[in-house]
Amino acid sequence: MIELSHYLVVSGILFSIGVVGVLRRKNLLMLFFATEIMLNAANIAFAAVSSYYGDLSGQMFAFFIIAVAASEVAVGLGLLIVLYKKQGTLDLDDLAVMKG
């Protein structure tokens, strides 16, 4: 039988994969995707906990997070276009001139 912990474990693994994706940090596009995966991992946790308590709040959170993620992606992709047109690359090492 599938229990809450199954969902939470999937969510944890997904989150860790997302962190790996962010740490590899070579391609800007992949970086946005990886952040998106991490948000989705949180969403699974919210949805599963919502079912566990029989409480609708968790679904509301997941719904809000979908909206927040969409707006983040919109601004991020806008930046990506600007950078690509100007620099012709998505490589973070080339884009980051400043040290730090």
Partner: protein
Amino acid sequence: MIWDLYLVMPLALVFIGALFLMLFSLVKQVELTNYNLVTVAFLSVSLIIELIIFQNVEHDYLFETIFAKMFIVDKLSTLFNILFLSGAILTLLINNNYFKSRDYYNGEFFALLLFSIFGMMMLAHTNELITAFISIELASITLYVLVGYNHHSPKSSEAMLKYIILGSLAGVFFILGVALVYGVVGSTYLGDIYSYLIHHQNSDISLLVVGMMFMMVTLLFKIGAAPFHSWVVDVYIGSPFPVTMFMATTLKIAIFSILLRLFLVDFAPIYPLILEIIKVVAIATLLLGSLLAIAQTQLKGMLAASSIVHVGYMLMALYAIGVGSSFAASAIIFYLISYFLSALGAFGILSFLASDEEKRHLSFDDFKGFAHERPYMAAAMTIFMLSLAGFPSTIGFLGKFYIFMSVVETGEILLAGLGILIAFISIYYYFKLIALMYFYPSPNPKKRFPFAISTLLIVGVALMIVWGGIGTGLIPFVAGADGLLTIASEALKTIGK
């Protein structure tokens, strides 16, 4: 009901202003100054209403029948709102010349600024974690765009790139933390976490503690504390001057508003578990921030790095709260106000100079002999530097004094000693600027004091800093430093458990 409408007016005005400017920016033949004035008008009316509210409000859930208990109005939130609004008004007025001297500003800039302020104000009012997350995102996403607003400069785009990547990553940690907290408590109201912890003292709370840690990570990132401080200098240097000024002064305060609410109430039962971490973070922030500040060659970078050090002092006071200091919380608010004034003035002078002379990158060398060129501005700059360094007779000294007192009160003499040591180190990089301004001959002839709104406001802020430091006893009936401290502690009293 009418009273509730009155309480929601400041927020509504800021939002209406944002909508108005968004539509207004489609009209072509409007001068930039007019956009600026319209924005300032909306913010000023909002500020006046907030000042009246501050006198009368105690602790109130706004529209409780509609919003449940999510929208809290108390003295703390009102005080923070006053700070955001006055910070934004001063930023806009001081930078008016700067906006005109650059060609990439337009009406949308002001609309985005208002959206950002709306997010911060909402953050101060929120009583629920998801609303807090959305407000943080609203304040940050619009700030990302503002940081990257200068499309001529690759530096600006790069600063935005760094900020958006790291900022959204930090946001994810907050949301995961909320997910875990919700999984244990079954609610995301701030007070409910506290009552859960009180009623389940013997049960296993590791999931909850991990969730709260994740939330702390995000908040520490957003204020620029130690392991997560590397973005601060790059982003501050890369963004346009007005945006740096806005970020340095208001955003930090906004994050502290939610951090204080969480820390004072919900984290109270688990202080033993997290205090050591806070202490280590505070010490690391102080040391690493000082090292960064010494290494900077640009003045903007030095101010950015020193803002990390100031966060370190406030984290020290946060630790003192946990150990049981009675007035550490008001000391933090007082310190926020004093840092707010000093940083506002210092960044204001920088952007005033940048609007005046196109070519200047404002490294330290550009300030050689500045006092002979512009004696009044140099005097104001000296006051800001003294206040940031915590020199007696400025408001910055009192801020540091209260923080060290609260740490000493808890018996952590060593920690207070470290803080004082760091304050002495900070004298090095602040006084370097003062020495450069006064002890070198000026290459340019002396210029007259330019009478404009921006310069008068800068001088006004400088006078306020001195007045906050020494003027308490001189003028009766007006709040000086003691008054501010009373206001801060009054504001804190209204946080309900």
